[in-house]
């Protein structure tokens, strides 16, 4: 153990901090302006720590703890709103590293020969296990995958059309949407905005209503028992319909009756 402590002292902190700042952080601190990029790039503190060790020969014993802690506190404050959970995970890692460092600085005479007492052992074990799984994930993704790398063969059976219609469940639609989402992210021309589904549903409902009748009064669209959120959603649906030029909203005088009609009935 004395040997360990000696080696800690022999390796100056400057070895890891001496390198110029690149686009990837040099230590566990993530500059707030780059936060989004790094959170997307790394899967969490283990992933980042592993990267730093592999890429920059970061020595987990030699991290400048005081500086890192100070930076982290500022960072957590900045991130409190939307990334608190992740910030907490990074903080936990920092705390662990500080604990390791402090334990290593204090000679522990009672366990001179016990390797198990090396405070780094558990962290090293976790890092290696994580790395193993990370590599496994990478290789798994390299395997040819149905639909992505090859198609399944399926020839039409004439008879099946009428007798058993295909079943669809919610997960099928969900998967279909994930596919669409992936594609729209690739071809940036199409943007799928994240409107609330209830607004879209009410848009359909209003149009259905207008389908049978040429014109309705605004208040008719609000069911008598509607609660506040429903009224808001119906109102939003109406605005969206107007924006998409699917309905026309008219009011002949101030505070007069507001009429809503489908634009197609105008054209017809």
């Amino acid at each position: 153990m004395n040997q360990l402590i000696d080696s800690v002292e022999k390796h100056p902190v400057a070895r890891i901090c001496g390198q110029p700042l690149m686009e990837i952080p040099q230590d566990l601190y993530i500059p707030p302006e780059a936060l989004e990029v790094f959170l997307d790039t790394f899967q969490g503190p283990l992933d980042l720590l592993l990267y730093l060790i592999r890429k920059h020969n970061l020595d987990i014993r030699d991290i400048p703890m005081a500086e890192l802690t100070r930076q982290y506190m500022a960072y957590v404050t900045a991130m409190r709103v939307d990334q608190l959970e992740l910030a907490a995970e990074y903080l936990l890692m920092t705390a662990l590293l500080i604990e390791i460092k402090s334990r290593m600085l204090l000679p522990n005479p009672s366990s001179q020969t016990e390797e198990a007492d090396d405070p780094r052992a558990e962290l090293v074990r976790r890092l290696l296990e994580y790395e193993q799984m990370k590599l496994a994930a990478f290789k798994l993704n390299e395997l040819p995958q149905a639909e992505r790398d090859f198609a399944l063969v399926q020839v039409w059976i004439e008879k099946s059309i009428s007798s058993h219609p295909p079943q669809v469940n919610v997960d099928d639609l969900r998967n279909a949407w994930v596919t669409l989402l992936t594609r729209t992210r690739i071809n940036r021309h199409h943007h799928i905005s994240r409107e609330s589904l209830s607004v879209r549903a009410h848009m359909s409902q209003i149009l259905r209503h207008l389908h049978d009748r040429e014109m309705v009064e605004f208040y008719e669209l609000l069911s008598p028992g509607a609660n506040v959120p429903e009224v808001v959603v119906i109102f939003l649906a109406l605005l969206e319909l107007a924006r998409e030029m699917l309905v026309e909203i008219t009011q002949s005088e101030a505070f007069g009756i507001i009429y809503v009609r489908a634009t197609e009935s105008i054209a017809a």
Partner: protein, 205 residues
């Protein structure tokens, strides 16, 4: 796999290879494929004439097997010969047929983005939506036309029906899986080099 190299035009124009490609594509697609779609396979560099002749040759090649290549209203497709039906019936439980991805995606777009026109659906999917797909969903009673958008051509606006909700055991559309959370699950950057995996992937010694 956009990183796959494009097949060289030379290979694509060898009639035997063209036939193998046509065969493969038709065997993987339940929806009939019109010539206009099949032409895309060869970057529209083969004429409808040439393709039709090769498809006829392919039809000939398949006559001795249990499935046949036919033309239906919407285009070309393989289907099973009637004499195979008794064998197919012995497999039980008969696997329920499934909708093609095109149908499912169209359904998903109508469910989540209604009311939409065919043009809207095509804009999101990035490909043409055949009438057959819309007909399939209408025939199933899952979508209907609830109006027309007041733009040139007055395209029909589609929305989901009550039957759609019933058949999927949903009470309201809000019970569909929320979309917000899905975004993080797909790989937003297809470029591997952005990830630090490259370094990490070197063998550990």
């Amino acid at each position: 796999m956009s990183e796959q190299p494009n097949p060289s035009p030379l290979d694509s124009f060898n009639p035997e290879i063209v036939k193998r490609v046509l065969e493969t594509v038709l065997l993987t697609t339940q929806d009939p494929l019109p010539l206009s779609e099949l032409k895309k396979l060869f970057n529209d560099e083969l004429s409808a004439e040439v393709l039709r002749r090769l498809l006829e040759e392919l039809r000939e090649e398949w006559t001795t097997s249990g499935i046949e290549l036919v033309t239906v209203a919407e285009g070309w497709r393989f289907h099973t010969k009637p004499e195979m039906q008794p064998f197919l019936d012995r497999l039980n439980p008969l696997k329920p047929p499934r909708y093609s991805r095109a149908v499912l995606e169209t359904m998903a777009i109508i469910a989540y983005r209604q009311p939409v026109t065919r043009g809207d659906i095509e804009a999101i999917r990035g490909v043409t939506v055949s009438s057959a797909i819309i007909k399939t969903l209408e025939a199933r009673g899952w979508i209907d036309t609830i109006g027309h958008r007041n733009v040139p051509g007055r395209p029909a606006l589609f929305a989901t029906t009550k039957k759609f909700l019933n058949d999927l055991s949903l009470r309201t559309l809000e019970e569909l899986p929320p979309l917000e959370e899905l975004g993080s699950l797909v790989d937003s950057t297809r470029n591997q080099e952005i990830f630090p995996d490259d370094e990490a992937a070197t063998p550990v010694t």
